[in-house]
């Protein structure tokens, strides 16, 4: 009986998640589903960062820059090559994955604070790099899909038809983003519960111990960077598709920091809490704005909220969920 339940409960939870995913856009206004799609972009980036930081222990303050690689890959393909926007997503993921891999190489020699600083430098340099190669990136004006190739934008007229089923453009973006997000989450789950995940966690907990147990450090570290880059690239691509315009201001250092905040709030080293992390960074700024609009006040409230969460929820939302469901999981999975 308990064994059956042990399998049934996770399946039910997954089914409930899919149910919520399908229903949510119908419970909120059409425009709000676009807001949720934006949160989905953060979610994907956070899942990627969590693989790297939460499971492998490699800090990255440069994920906003990896998102820029993805976003600009999509934008360049749409604007210069007139690709259909949604078909660029895989390529954007691969491009950012390659850049992630390349960052992973010097990262082999850096650890802790030094790695954080190196990736931070990457994030700081990104807007200037984007302005430098203005032929490809449109310089500080960026690239606007609608100005250059409006007909490659899915849902330009407000509706999208997929397999004969018509939905609003905003619903389409929601399902596209969170659909990819859930698949990404499932893949991340498969990765961390298998051999790769064990290697990643071993590196996080002690590199020396991992190496002596036969874990190939360079391989797994660069692999974690590349994988994480793919997630960030896909997120950046979806970001570009949603905003239909990219410019250097969209990918500042602040974005990189937001993703780290989202991962910490969601819970490093845990996957289910990350949805909350994404919603936190998407909605907290506007909530803070509702509390008070005096100059500086929203930023203050935002900062205070982050500090509170970190103090009150040391494991992030994932840690909280873990504790809430601890009695159930122990009952289900402990052999007596």
């Amino acid at each position: 009986m308990r064994r059956v339940l042990g399998i049934a409960v996770p399946l039910l939870a997954a089914a409930a998640a899919v149910g919520v995913f399908l229903l949510v856009p119908h419970l909120v206004s059409d425009f709000h589903s676009r807001d949720l799609a934006e949160a989905g972009v953060f979610f994907i980036a956070i899942v990627g960062l969590n693989l790297l930081t939460g499971y492998t222990g490699q800090i990255s303050l440069g994920h906003g820059a990896l998102m820029a690689i993805g976003g600009y890959t999509t934008a360049a393909l749409v604007v210069h090559e007139h690709w259909r926007d949604v078909w660029t997503i895989p390529l954007a993921g691969i491009a950012a994955g390659i850049v992630g891999f390349l960052i992973g190489i010097p990262a082999l020699r850096l650890s802790g604070l030094y790695l954080a600083l190196a990736t931070f430098a990457f994030a700081v340099a990104m807007p200037s790099l984007l302005k430098k190669f203005s032929g490809l990136t449109g310089g500080s004006q960026g690239l606007s899909f609608l100005e250059s190739s409006p007909f490659q934008v899915t849902g330009l007229k407000g509706t999208v038809t997929v397999f004969g089923h018509t939905t609003t453009a905003n619903h389409f973006l929601y399902y596209l983003t969170w659909g990819i997000g859930l698949v990404g989450l499932a893949i991340a789950w498969l990765i961390v519960r298998g051999r790769f995940g064990r290697a990643f966690r071993a590196i996080r907990d002690s590199e020396a111990a991992a190496a002596s147990a036969g874990v190939n450090l360079p391989l797994y570290k660069t692999l974690a960077f590349a994988l994480s880059g793919v997630y960030a690239g896909v997120a950046g691509s979806l970001f570009a598709i949603q905003s239909e315009i990219v410019n250097p201001l969209s990918f500042t250092v602040l974005l990189s920091i937001l993703i780290v905040v989202g991962a910490v709030v969601g819970g490093l080293g845990s996957l289910p809490g990350l949805v909350l992390g994404a919603l936190f960074i998407k909605y907290l700024p506007s909530l803070a704005g509702h509390v008070s609009t005096r100059p500086g006040a929203p930023d203050f409230i935002y900062g205070a909220a982050i500090i509170l969460v970190v103090i009150l929820l040391p494991g992030g939302a994932g840690g909280l969920l873990g504790r809430l469901f601890a009695p159930l999981t122990t009952w289900l999975y402990t052999r007596r």
């Binding site: 909120v28 310089g139 500080s140 606007s144 315009i245 410019n247 201001l249």
Partner: protein, 403 residues
């Protein structure tokens, strides 16, 4: 579990019911008409916020006097921080969440270029764009839902070019311009206006709107031995241009574009450099300057002052001429709305906007007429030249047509 499912279904039914309820044009109810626009309320271009705020005060005044056809005008202003990507998302919010009837008076060339294809694809009027981008008046056949307002930048550049060619044919001209469609429009106009004298331009230096300063550009212009400086830049950078030329001991004859020549900004330029540095600068003008003693007893400026006194927000100065510009745009919108019929539709307001003849706009220079026809989408095309003298603008020469 059952309860939850039932609740969800109820919510679903409510959601579909709500979306099917509206009839007639979006944003138009028997008592209200909702329009919206974006301006930079924060960031490096926030000096422009009064373009939007000034318009909002005029609407408050109109509402207090009964509105238009018994409808109050609700004008939703959103902050885009002068970032076209934010203009795009805020405009989408206005259209899809606030269900505005039209986008009105949104500020910035790149910013309106970013939203134009979207608004035209879904048929939302983009009225009286707060930018002199020539394309907003010129390309009406391709973008039938869009219309500009102020004299276009190309024409403005042409005027300065002609004036230099005529009055100072031996000058060496240096140009500081913003590296986007706005700056390039002015630059192209300047070359056009100089005509055969185009070689007078000895150096052109550009900056990006998100750069921190223009010190090196000014140094290069000085090094090119220019004796005339064209400032085709937004207020922050125009101030810096005066400041850095002063610091480098360079005293060129300055032409400053309308975008940055509001008298309150000129006064800050004086503070940032010296009286002498700014004295003799030349610009173009089409709205009444509220600080100009010439208009002290003017009917339009009196109206302006009474509206400001009554409706302005804390921290907004009544001597900021961008308020006057905003009010003029709002005045034109109100006229177009009246012409659009008792029950305005998006089609009828766009049609009205292309059939305007407004001779009595109290906020514009005497004699300036707001005029559009189906083949002419440049509402304002008259202006005067002005010279900065003893701490204020003095206009000279007659009213001329800028095309």
């Amino acid at each position: 579990m059952l309860y939850t499912a039932g609740g969800l279904l109820c919510a679903l039914a409510l959601a579909t019911g709500a979306s099917g309820a509206g009839t007639g044009s979006p944003g138009v109810s028997p008592t209200e008409i909702v329009i919206g626009g974006t301006v930079p309320m924060t960031g490096f271009a926030q000096a422009f916020k009064t373009v939007g705020l000034g318009a909002s005060y005029y609407f408050k005044y109109v509402n207090a006097h009964g509105g238009v056809n018994h409808r109050k005008i609700k004008y939703i202003l959103k902050d885009d921080a002068y970032d076209p990507a934010q203009t795009m998302s805020k405009t989408r919010e206005l259209v899809e969440q606030d269900h505005v009837f039209a986008i009105f008076n949104s500020l910035g060339t790149e910013h309106n270029l970013a939203t134009r294809p979207y608004l035209n694809a879904i048929g939302v009027p983009q009225l009286f764009v707060a930018s002199g981008g020539t394309t907003f008046g010129k390309d009406y056949k391709q973008y039938k839902w869009t219309i500009g307002y102020q004299p276009n930048y190309r024409a403005e550049g042409t005027i300065y070019g002609r004036y230099v060619a005529k009055t100072a044919p031996k000058s060496r001209v240096g140009v500081l311009y913003q590296n986007d469609d706005y700056g390039k429009d002015l630059l192209a106009g300047l070359s056009h206006g100089l005509g055969k004298k185009a070689k007078l331009v000895v150096s052109k230096q550009s900056y990006n709107p998100d750069d921190s300063d223009v010190q090196s550009q000014i140094a290069k212009l000085k090094a090119a031995k220019a004796n005339t400086l064209m400032i085709f830049a937004t207020p922050t950078f125009a101030l810096q241009a005066y400041r850095f030329s002063y610091k480098l001991g360079w005293k060129p004859k300055v032409y400053v574009n309308v975008v940055s020549s509001a008298s309150n900004i000129m006064k800050v330029s004086v503070l940032a450099s010296t009286k002498k540095q700014v004295e003799g600068s030349i610009s173009m003008v089409f709205v009444k300057d509220p600080t100009d003693p010439r208009w002290a007893k003017d009917r339009g400026i009196k109206l302006y002052r009474s509206i400001m006194k009554r409706y302005k927000d804390k921290g907004i100065s009544a001597s900021d001429p961008y308020n006057v510009y905003g009010m003029s745009a709002a005045h034109t919108f109100v006229q177009a709305l009246k012409q659009a019929g008792k029950n305005p539709t998006r089609e009828s307001i766009v049609k009205a906007a292309a059939h305007l003849t407004i001779r009595n706009d109290p906020f514009l220079l005497p004699g300036v007429v707001v005029r559009t026809t189906p083949n002419d989408h440049f509402p304002l095309d008259q202006a005067r030249l002005e010279r900065w003298h003893n701490g204020r603008w003095v206009s000279f020469g007659g009213l001329f047509r800028v095309r």
